[in-house]
């Protein structure tokens, strides 16, 4: 109890409680993530079960009974009669899955490479950081596209759809590890020369393990900030790639794919097919961004 009380009163939580923006955006993120995770329970329809679709429900307007079937859909339906609300929930699942997994992949890769570079030093460090520099000169989205393009060339045609999600994750993750590596390497360089590490070396403890124990806590807050901001970037990158038709396939539509599909109905009056996924994407990216911004300000007060 006391610990909870202390945590509740800690500066971090205090400044969170007193930042309406942070509270609202965290609430929004939680609502969106939870509704994506529990999409199968929340969504009134399963948009991926073709047997449940009735083509005659196609293009139902939001909250209005369909002319042929009389069914009512909250946010309307798309050309196939799929409930837009359910599709958004499932699409967000894919967007978030790709986003989270890609960031996790980038984080693990970046943190390990940063640790190795900072700790081992010498030739290894030069090699890793050179690669990082080179990659940093290329925008993430381009790197992701290239990886996607190459993967598309390598995978057999019929595997492309199945592989697409994983290719996306790897492409976005690989394009995003550099920031993590840089921060961790910097912290490692500082920590490496501290006395306890030298002492640990002297008494024959494995310094690597010690470093891990001491460095990770030190870099936790910058890594958290980078991860949050990266998550927003990854979600947008995924949406962009899918929109360009080099991302999630229509069989596993993410928010970007839905917007891409909806764009075809921009002028035909079925505005809900593009509007609602766009709003969802914006809400998701904005709330994660706001949270990241707040985290950066709070954990890194000198930037406030």
């Amino acid at each position: 109890m006391e610990r909870i009380g202390r945590a509740w009163n800690s500066d971090f939580v205090w400044s969170f409680r007193h930042s309406p923006v942070a509270v609202v955006s965290l609430a929004l993120v939680l609502v969106l993530v939870l509704s994506a995770v529990f999409a199968p329970l929340i969504a009134p329809y399963d948009p991926f079960d073709p047997a449940s679709l009735n083509l005659m429900n196609g293009f139902s307007k939001p909250m209005e009974p369909n002319t042929f079937t009389g069914d009512v859909f909250w946010l309307g339906t798309d050309d196939q009669g799929r409930d837009v609300f359910s599709t958004i929930l499932y699409g967000m699942r894919i967007s978030l899955f790709v986003g989270f997994t890609a960031v996790l992949f980038a984080l693990i890769l970046g943190v390990s490479l940063g640790l190795i570079a900072g700790y081992v030093g010498g030739w290894t460090e030069t090699a890793i950081m050179r690669v990082a520099d080179v990659q940093l000169t290329f925008p993430a989205i381009l790197v992701a596209m290239l990886i996607f393009g190459i993967a598309k060339g390598i995978t057999p045609v019929h595997m492309r759809d199945e592989m697409a999600i994983w290719v996306l994750i790897i492409a976005i993750g690989l394009s995003d590890w550099v920031q993590f590596a840089r921060v961790v390497r910097g912290a490692t360089l500082v920590e490496k020369n501290k006395e306890y590490v030298q002492a640990a070396k002297l008494i024959g403890r494995k310094p690597g393990a010690i470093m891990l124990r001491h460095i990770l806590p030190n870099v936790l807050s910058p890594v958290l900030v980078i991860a949050t901001i990266s998550l927003a970037l990854a979600i947008i990158a995924e949406a962009t790639l899918s929109f360009l038709g080099v991302g999630a396939p229509p069989t596993q539509p993410s928010l970007g794919t839905l917007i891409c599909i909806g764009q075809g109905y921009l002028f035909s009056g079925e505005w809900w097919i593009i509007l609602y996924p766009s709003i969802t994407l914006l809400a998701l990216a904005l709330s994660v961004n706001l949270l990241g911004d707040w985290l950066r300000d709070t954990l890194n007060p000198k930037l406030r």
């Binding site: 929109f243 002028f267 406030r304």
Partner: protein, 327 residues
């Protein structure tokens, strides 16, 4: 400085060689070039002839060397999809992308620096906070959505600006420019805003945070303690120091503009290299992809070199004379 420059140039060449290797490997190993170049009704003789022509029977290193010398002399292969030399396709498309990138880069830098300085100086003001919040919306809004929104608003609903393409262009030598016709200039507006907006917000936020950092510096306090005017402090003392880190990142951002042009060009059907590239990805047109990669990397490396040199111009600490008076 000379040593430094030489080192940078050598590094750039290494980068280009690595990128070249990636590009070559793509060409060589992603999909069978023979398969892609010959149609359905090919004969074994055709395959052998092409294999010889392309030198695919030689050792890898020889092939790579040949690829590089070809690339250096402007021979980038033939597009699988269009059946035309990639180099000439790129030459046709490059002006469109470069003009778009230049205009949106200018837009992003001018507005980004101005707004960044403004929000840093008035960091507690209502307007500054509003701008910061809007900028977060801007960062969270994917480029393609901005483009669609702008088209819908300004082209379809209001009918003020064209929705696609470059308008009329004028040929100047081998360069087709849209700067000289009114329709060309009008056509530039929406894509430039779309492309520049994201970079603008990034530059703005960067300038703001760097400026805030600088404004906290001791020499700014000292300048205040000396009774200098706020304007002199902000624009003479702080801005100059802010620009040093901003230049690096902005240089990188300019590189990204060329890459992000892919999205804008798709939305606006802007006939540049980005649109070419995205089509190449969809059709797995490897020579075009490889050539685009090489072209972009040459541009990036060039931009980076320029940025490094700009550094020298702005920051006296990096210049050669390091005479120190003992005291």
């Amino acid at each position: 400085m000379l040593a430094y420059s030489i080192r940078r140039v050598v590094q750039s060449i290494v980068v280009l060689l690595v990128v070249g290797l990636v590009a070559f490997s793509m060409f060589r190993f992603v999909g069978d070039p023979i398969d892609n170049m010959l149609g359905q009704e090919r004969t074994d003789a055709d395959i052998e002839r092409l294999r010889g022509e392309l030198g695919l029977d030689r050792p890898f290193v020889v092939q790579y060397g040949r690829f590089l010398t070809n690339a250096a002399t402007g021979n980038l292969g033939v597009s699988y999809r269009q059946g035309r030399p990639v180099a000439s396709i790129l030459m046709e498309r490059a002006p469109a992308t470069l003009e778009l990138a230049a205009v949106s880069g200018l837009f992003a830098i001018v507005l980004g620096v101005a707004l960044g300085v403004f929000t840093a100086i008035r960091r507690n003001g209502i307007a500054a906070n509003l701008i910061m919040t809007i900028s977060l919306v801007g960062v969270s809004l994917p480029t393609f959505l901005i483009g669609i929104l702008l088209i819908y608003l300004f082209a379809v609903e209001l009918g003020w600006l064209p929705s696609f393409g470059r308008g009329d262009t004028v040929k100047l030598g081998g360069w087709s420019t849209g700067f000289l016709t009114s329709s060309g200039l009008k056509a530039l507006i929406l894509p430039s805003i779309t492309l520049g907006l994201y970079q603008m917000t990034l530059i703005m936020r960067l300038v703001r945070s760097e400026m805030l950092e600088v404004l906290r510096a001791e020499y700014i306090r000292f300048a205040r303690a000396r009774g200098l005017r706020e304007r002199a402090i902000n624009f003479h003392h702080a801005l100059k120091n802010t620009l040093v880190p901003v230049i690096t990142v902005t240089g990188l951002q300019l590189g990204s503009i060329i890459a992000f042009a892919i999205i804008t060009e798709t939305v606006f059907q802007w006939p540049g290299v980005g649109l070419l590239f995205i089509n190449a990805i969809q059709f797995v047109d490897i020579p075009v992809m490889a050539a685009y990669l090489m072209l972009i990397s040459v541009m990036f490396v060039g931009i980076n070199l320029i940025v490094d040199l700009l550094y020298f111009a702005i920051d006296p600490r990096l210049r050669v004379d390091r005479t120190v008076t003992e005291g």
